[in-house]
C-alpha cells in the first residue's frame, strides 16, 4: 500500500508538468487550430526565465571591505550584489533565496509577450495552411529558439535551487499512519503539484466563469458564427495563445529546482506532451489534464523494481505503448470530441 502511494506521489510532479504543457498545447489547438511543435521550447524558455532572474538578482559589484583582511593584512575585495544596496543584506539574501518563486512574476509578462510575438509574427500566417506545414514551421522555430538559448546560456544544465524553506523532504507516510520513512517526499514536488493544480484550476475557471472565457469557448465551437456576431475573435485567440505560452512558461519556471534546466529540455518534454494530448483527445482540455496525470503516474509505476523484474525496460516505453493502444482502440483519445482532427 505504501509503495503504491509513493508511486502515485512520484508520478504527480512529472504528471503536473505533462498536464500543464498538454493544456497549453490543447488551448492553442482548440482555439487557433494550430499544431504547435514549439510549445516545448516555451516550457524551456520559462525555465530560463528563472535562470535569468536569479542571475539578475545576483549581479554584483566589487567593493573593498576594510573589516576583512587577507593573510597579508590587505583589505579583501568582496562581491556585493546590487540588491544588498537596495534592500539591505538580510532582505537581499531572502530575495535571492526565493528567486525561483519570484520568477513567476517575471515570467508571466515575458511569456505572454513571447506568445504574442510568435502568434502575430508567425503562426497567424499558418491558419489556412495544412497541419503538416504548421508542424514543420513550428518545429523549425523550436530548433531556432533552442539554439538561441544554447548560445546565450551554454549547453550545460544550470542548477537553480529551490528556496531553503522547501529544500529537503518530509515524511508523508507518518502523516497517514504508515511506518515512518516509507514514504518520503520532497517538499518542492508537492509545491509543484499544488502550483500546477492552481494554474489548471485558474485556466478552467477563466474559461468557464468569465465573459471573455465564454466568448473563447464559443469561438472554439464555431469560430465563424462568433465572428459574424461582430466579435473580434482573432484578437481573443491571440490572447489565449499568450496565456497558453504563459502556462507552459510557468510550468518551466517551477520545474527548474526539480531538474536543472538545459537547452533541450523542451524537446524532451514536447514529444511526451504530444503523446499526452493525443491520448487525452485532441482539443479536449479536461482530457489533456487527465491524460497528463495518468501517464505521469503510470510512468512512475512502471519504474517500480517489482514491475521491472517482470517486464524489463517497460518504464522507458510505457507512455508510447499506452498511446499506441489508446489510439488504436479509442481513436479520439480518452475524452476527444467528435469531429476534431478526424481525417
Amino acid at each position: 500500500m505504501d509503495a503504491i502511494i509513493l508511486q502515485i506521489l512520484n508520478g504527480l510532479d512529472k504528471g503536473s508538468a505533462y498536464a500543464l504543457i498538454a493544456l497549453g498545447l490543447t488551448l492553442i489547438f482548440g482555439t487557433l487550430g494550430v499544431v504547435n511543435f514549439a510549445h516545448g521550447a516555451l516550457f524551456m524558455i520559462g525555465a530560463f526565465c528563472a535562470v535569468t532572474l536569479s542571475r539578475i538578482l545576483t549581479l554584483s559589484h566589487t567593493i573593498i571591505d576594510e573589516t576583512q583582511k587577507d593573510f597579508l593584512g590587505n583589505p579583501l575585495k568582496v562581491d556585493v550584489p546590487y540588491i544588498y544596496d537596495i534592500f539591505g543584506q538580510q532582505t537581499g539574501d531572502a530575495i535571492i533565496d526565493w528567486a525561483v518563486p519570484l520568477s513567476i512574476l517575471f515570467a508571466i509578462p515575458v511569456m505572454i509577450g513571447i506568445g504574442f510575438i510568435m502568434e502575430r509574427g508567425l503562426i497567424k500566417h499558418f491558419y489556412k495552411r495544412p497541419h503538416a506545414d504548421q508542424i514543420l514551421v513550428t518545429f523549425g522555430l523550436a530548433i531556432v529558439l533552442q539554439e538561441i538559448i544554447k548560445y546565450f546560456y551554454g549547453a550545460n544544465p544550470i542548477p537553480t535551487p529551490a528556496p531553503d524553506a522547501f529544500r529537503g523532504s518530509f515524511d508523508f507516510g507518518a502523516m497517514l499512519g504508515f511506518d515512518p520513512n516509507t514514504i518520503i517526499y520532497p517538499y518542492w514536488r508537492l509545491v509543484y503539484f499544488a502550483f500546477a493544480a492552481v494554474i489548471i484550476g485558474a485556466v478552467f475557471a477563466f474559461l468557464q466563469f468569465t465573459t471573455f472565457g465564454m466568448v473563447v469557448r464559443a469561438g472554439m465551437a464555431d469560430r465563424e458564427t462568433v465572428g459574424l456576431l461582430g466579435i473580434n475573435i482573432d484578437k481573443r485567440f491571440t490572447i489565449m495563445f499568450g496565456i497558453a505560452a504563459a502556462v507552459a512558461g510557468l510550468a518551466g519556471v517551477m520545474y527548474t529546482p526539480i531538474n536543472s534546466p538545459n537547452y533541450h529540455m523542451g524537446m524532451d518534454f514536447l514529444v511526451l506532451s504530444f503523446v499526452v494530448v493525443v491520448v487525452g483527445g485532441m482539443g479536449s482540455l479536461p482530457g489533456a489534464v487527465l491524460a497528463g496525470f495518468l501517464l505521469g503516474i503510470l510512468e512512475s509505476f512502471a519504474s517500480m523494481a517489482v514491475v521491472l523484474e517482470i517486464l524489463p525496460g517497460i518504464n522507458q516505453i510505457i507512455i508510447y505503448l499506452v498511446a499506441i493502444i489508446i489510439l488504436l482502440t479509442r481513436p479520439r483519445g480518452l475524452m476527444g470530441r467528435r469531429g476534431v482532427m478526424e481525417e
Binding site: 499544431v35 508567425l122 500566417h125 495544412p130 497541419h131 503538416a132 506545414d133 508542424i135 514543420l136 514551421v137 518545429f139 523549425g140 522555430l141 523550436a142 530548433i143 531556432v144 539554439e147 538561441i148 548560445y151 524537446m267 514529444v271 504530444f274 503523446v275 493525443v278 485532441m282 524489463p312 525496460g313 522507458q316 516505453i317 508510447y320 505503448l321 498511446a323 499506441i324 489510439l327 488504436l328 481513436p331 482532427m341 481525417e343
Partner: protein, 399 residues
Amino acid sequence: MFGLTKRDSTLLIIVILLTVLAPFILNPFPEGSAMAQFNAGYPDLMQRLVIFGIFAIGFNILFGLTGYLSFGHAAFLGVGSYAAIWMMKLLTMNVVPAIIISVVVAGLFSLLVGWISLRRSGIYFSILTLAFAQMSYSLAYSVLTPITGGETGLQPKVDDPRILDGALAAGQTPRANFFGLEMGTSYELELGNWIFTFNAGYYIAAIVMILAFYLSIRIFRSPFGMMLRAVKSNQQRVNYTGLNAKPYTLAAFVISGMYAGLAGGLLVAMDTQVGAERMFWTASGEVVLMTILGGAGTLIGPVLGAGFIKYMENIVSKINKSVLEQWFAFMPDGIEDFLIAIVYPFIGKGWHLTLGILFMLVVIFLPGGLVEGGQRIGRLFKRKKPSDDAADGKTTPAE
C-alpha cells in the same frame, strides 16, 4: 532511356554526372590554399552525402507522394544498421549480404509499424510513428543491450565467428569489403595543386544511390505513384471511388522503410559501427528537413536537400572566429568587429541555428523547397517569351 521520358532521363543523367564527378565538384580549392579546409571531397563526407540522399529519396516516396508525415523514419535506418552489423559479425565482412539483410529487416519492421500506424492519418500518424521510433530507441538503449550493445553500440570484433570468412591472420582487423575490394581503398589523383580522392566505398554507395533514384523515378511515374498522389490530394474521394487506399499507402510506407534500411546498411558498410543515437527522433527530424528543404514531392529535391544539408553542415561548422577575421580583415576595425559579432552565432557550433532559420524560411516562403526556388528563378529569366507555358514547369507545393 530505360523506359523514362526525355525529361526524366535528363534528370537521371544529371544525378549520375553529379555523383560520379563529386570528387571533382566538391574539391574546388587547391591543396594548401587558405580555402582548402572547405573542400568536401573526402571519402567520409561524400559517402554520407549519397547515403543520406538515399534516405531522403525513400522518405520522399512516402511524404512527397502520399502526404503522410512520418516522424519516425530513423528507426528503420537504425534497425537496418543493426541487421547489417550482425551479418558482418556472424557471416562475412562482405557488404553485399549485410546490405541485403538490412533492407529485408527494415522492410519487415516497417511493415509492422506501418500496418499499425496507417490506421490513422494526419497528426495521429505522425505521433504514432514518433512513438514507435522513440520506443525502438529506448529499447535499444536499455533492454535490448545484448542485441544492440546499448550505449557502446556494436563494432565487428576480431573474435566474431564470421562463418564464411574463416579466421583472420594474426594482427589483422576485420574490414568491410566488396568481394575483396576494401571500402576504405582510395585512389588519389594529383592535378597540379589539386588532389582528388576516388574512394571505392563512395562509388559503391553512389551506384546504389543512382539505382535507388532510378527506381524512385519509376515509382513516381507508375500507376502506383498516381494512386499515391490521389491519396494525397483527396483520400476521401479515393475511398468513395471504391478503392481501398490502405494497401497503397502501406506499400509506400514499406518501400520508404526499405530505402531507410538500405541507407542504414550502407552506413554500416562504410563505417562499421552502430549506436542507438542513430534512431533518436532528431535523426528522424533531419530527414524531414532534408526532404522539405530540397522540395517534397519532386524527384531531385530530396537528393539536393540531403546534399545541401550535409555539405553546409560540414562547411559552416568549420568556419571559426579566425576565419571570419580573415574574411573581414579588409574593413575598418569597428565595422569588422561588428560584422564578426553578428555573424559569429551562426557559424561553427551555431550551425543548427542557421539550419533552423533556413528551414523556417523555406517552409514559410518556399513550400516547394529549393526545387521550387530554382523554378521561380528560371521563370524569371524566361518571362521574356510570352508563349512559354508557365504551368508546365509548376509542381504542386508540399502538403
